[in-house]
């Protein structure tokens, strides 16, 4: 039981990033399992480009949701904001008769506004985030349904325009939205680990009283985090509607639990204070791999949820074992540092 913080090199990296190692290993095992089940499908690049085409819709909102969960809060309403953003965009495009960037901008602003509302309800009115965002989840879905009267808005006429290709085009067969997911993951990693704002997010989730005592404006940080998250969710919804070339009013519903699951599988506990973007990204990839793998292996699609459930439980159990081991080490280390 040596002091891990005096270790160097590989050993230290292994200890410090145990959770990331576990998630990586689970990811590779799932990959291997599907490969062995159906080698032709998983040696075919089409399988991978398909995953890259759909995974961003789960992963992108999960990336900004990671900030919220690290700060010790939750958001459910992003599933409806994922419809609100593209609705505003689709209506603007219809009004202009062309895919104007203004539509994208207004869609993102709608998401930003929805996020601000969440942040204000939670911090200024003191409504628990779970309850507040159930409210806004219904509110924004309701707005979308009332405005569209339940009908879809076709966007096919705008296909093959520049704006389309910038967001959901293909580069050598790779869907552009996957690059967006990677870029956002890198940006959010930098914010969390190298910027003051990210540090505050961690401190608020770890010890909110302490954060207040050292003069951190907890309310403002949370409101900004919710606003960013709202905007990112709207962005993911916009990508999805462009990829499908249709805005449909139920957009986003299926991503709510998948995105939350991605964060949790990735090693960010709902109790907050710790968590990584890397974990969230791989967590989302795992869920998408399972979906594609189950379909490719030829069994019924009804197996998808079951396998998702099993993998989520395995990932959480592995994290539980690691944290228990950590508690034992904490006890020993405390004695050693007296």
């Amino acid at each position: 039981m040596a002091d891990i913080y005096k270790m160097h090199g590989i050993k230290k990296i292994f200890y410090e990033f145990k959770l990331q190692f576990v998630i990586t290993i689970i990811f590779l095992m799932i990959w291997l399992a599907f490969y062995l089940l159906n080698p032709p499908a998983f040696s075919n690049t089409f399988t991978y480009t398909s995953i890259m085409g759909v995974a961003p819709f789960t992963i992108i909102p999960a990336i900004s949701l990671t900030l919220i969960i690290i700060a010790g809060e939750i958001d459910l309403s992003f599933a409806s904001v994922m419809a609100l953003g593209p609705l505003v965009m689709a209506l603007t495009w219809q009004a202009f008769g062309e895919p104007t960037p203004l539509g994208i901008l207004l869609g993102l602003l709608a998401g930003l506004g929805a996020g601000l509302l969440n942040g204000i309800l939670i911090t200024k009115l003191g409504i628990p985030s779970l309850i507040a965002t159930i409210g806004t989840l219904f509110l924004w879905r309701g707005v979308v349904l009332v405005v569209t009267e339940g009908f879809s808005i076709p966007l096919g006429e705008f296909r093959n325009t520049l704006i389309y290709n910038v967001f959901v085009g293909r580069v050598y067969g790779v869907p552009v939205q996957f690059f967006w997911a990677i870029v956002l993951a890198i940006i959010f990693w930098i914010i969390l680990n190298r910027h003051k704002f990210g540090a505050y997010i961690y401190y608020i989730g770890d010890n909110r009283t302490a954060a207040r005592m050292v003069g951190i404006n907890v309310d403002r940080v949370l409101i900004i985090a919710y606003a960013i998250h709202g905007m990112v969710a709207a962005f993911a919804g916009i990508l999805d509607s462009l990829e499908m070339a249709t805005f449909w009013p139920a957009l986003g519903d299926i991503y709510m639990l998948k995105s939350i699951a991605s964060v949790v599988i990735g090693g960010t506990p709902v109790t907050g204070g710790i968590g990584t973007i890397y974990g969230t990204f791989l967590g989302g990839m795992i869920l998408e791999f399972i979906e594609m793998g189950v379909l490719a292996s030829g069994v019924s699609g009804f197996w998808i949820r079951l396998v998702h459930g099993v993998v989520i439980i395995i990932a959480l159990a592995a994290q539980g074992v690691i944290r228990k081991g950590e508690l034992a080490r904490i006890r020993i280390m405390r004695l050693l540092t007296t």
Binding site: Y5, A199, D206, A211, M213, V214, G215, I330, T338
Partner: protein, 264 residues
């Protein structure tokens, strides 16, 4: 003595519903002075410093910090004025490394808010080395540290921030004997660095070695104030017991008492 008061609190009254926790307390701390704030449970010690740190708003009275008058403060404002509150383990982020905890809330950044990590680690190391806390590297998460080590990290935060007044709220509670000695050493370091401090404790034997002046609170009132040089720990213990029983300072010590009530 023409020493300046870094903090003055005048006629502070605080009520919690029908309970009057502080009944018009006058309190001051001089520059480079360590004040021991002692008294029984419920005497109002914690309430008084929480008002000074802006966690509670007083119902009456005013606070003067470095010549500026305030009706009430906020923790943020108090922090900006150079006051740091050290609470038993409660102002640290357990999952985060020592260096981040030392700079928490006052990170060194470039003008876009990006952290200067290397610089912060170096400075954290230096400030911890001044307290002889080099057993653990600065990127060790705080959760691995013992209670005394954690207090050291908090003190080093106060030293790094150039805090002028450090409030230690029961810093020695639940610590082993050896660790109490270390915490007292940290307080001496504050004194050497020219800082002021308010040291709250039940245990006068923890407070006695490091303070310059005692302020004794009883049931929301200041009842006595003594210079340490005038008393032995045994005298102080006798006074405390008398106050707990009768609410009064024994007659033989009354002339040493610096605190005189305005009216009989």
């Amino acid at each position: 003595m023409a020493e300046k008061n870094i903090v003055e609190m005048h006629n502070i009254v605080k009520r919690f519903g029908a309970v009057v926790a502080l009944k018009g307390v006058d309190f001051y701390v001089r520059e480079n002075e360590i004040v021991g704030l002692v008294g029984d449970n419920g005497a109002g010690k914690s309430t008084l410093v929480k008002i000074l740190f802006g966690i509670y708003a007083p119902d009456e009275g005013e606070i003067i910090i470095k010549g500026k008058r305030f009706k009430r403060l906020t923790p943020k404002k108090a922090y900006e004025l150079g006051i740091v509150l050290i609470h038993q383990e409660r102002t640290l982020c357990e999952n985060h490394p020592i260096w981040r905890n030392v700079f928490m809330g006052r990170e060194l950044t470039n003008r876009y808010g990006f952290l200067k990590i290397k610089k912060m680690k170096e400075l954290a190391y230096k400030s911890l080395a001044a307290l002889e806390l080099t057993k653990m590297p600065v990127d060790t998460p705080v959760k691995y540290l013992s209670g005394g080590y954690k207090q050291g990290v908090q003190i080093s935060r106060a030293l790094t921030f150039e805090a002028d007044l450090v409030i230690l709220d029961e810093p020695t509670i639940a610590l082993s004997l050896a660790e109490v000695q270390k915490v007292l050493e940290y307080v001496r370091e504050l004194k050497r660095k020219g800082k002021s401090a308010i040291f709250i404790s039940h245990n006068i034997y923890h407070v006695y070695p490091v303070v310059d002046r005692f302020v004794i609170l009883n049931r929301g009132e200041v009842v006595a104030e003594f210079y340490k040089k005038d008393l032995t720990p045994e005298d102080l213990s006798e006074i405390m017991i008398s106050i707990a029983r009768t609410g009064k300072v024994p007659k033989e010590y009354e002339e040493l008492n610096l605190y005189k009530k305005a009216s009989p």
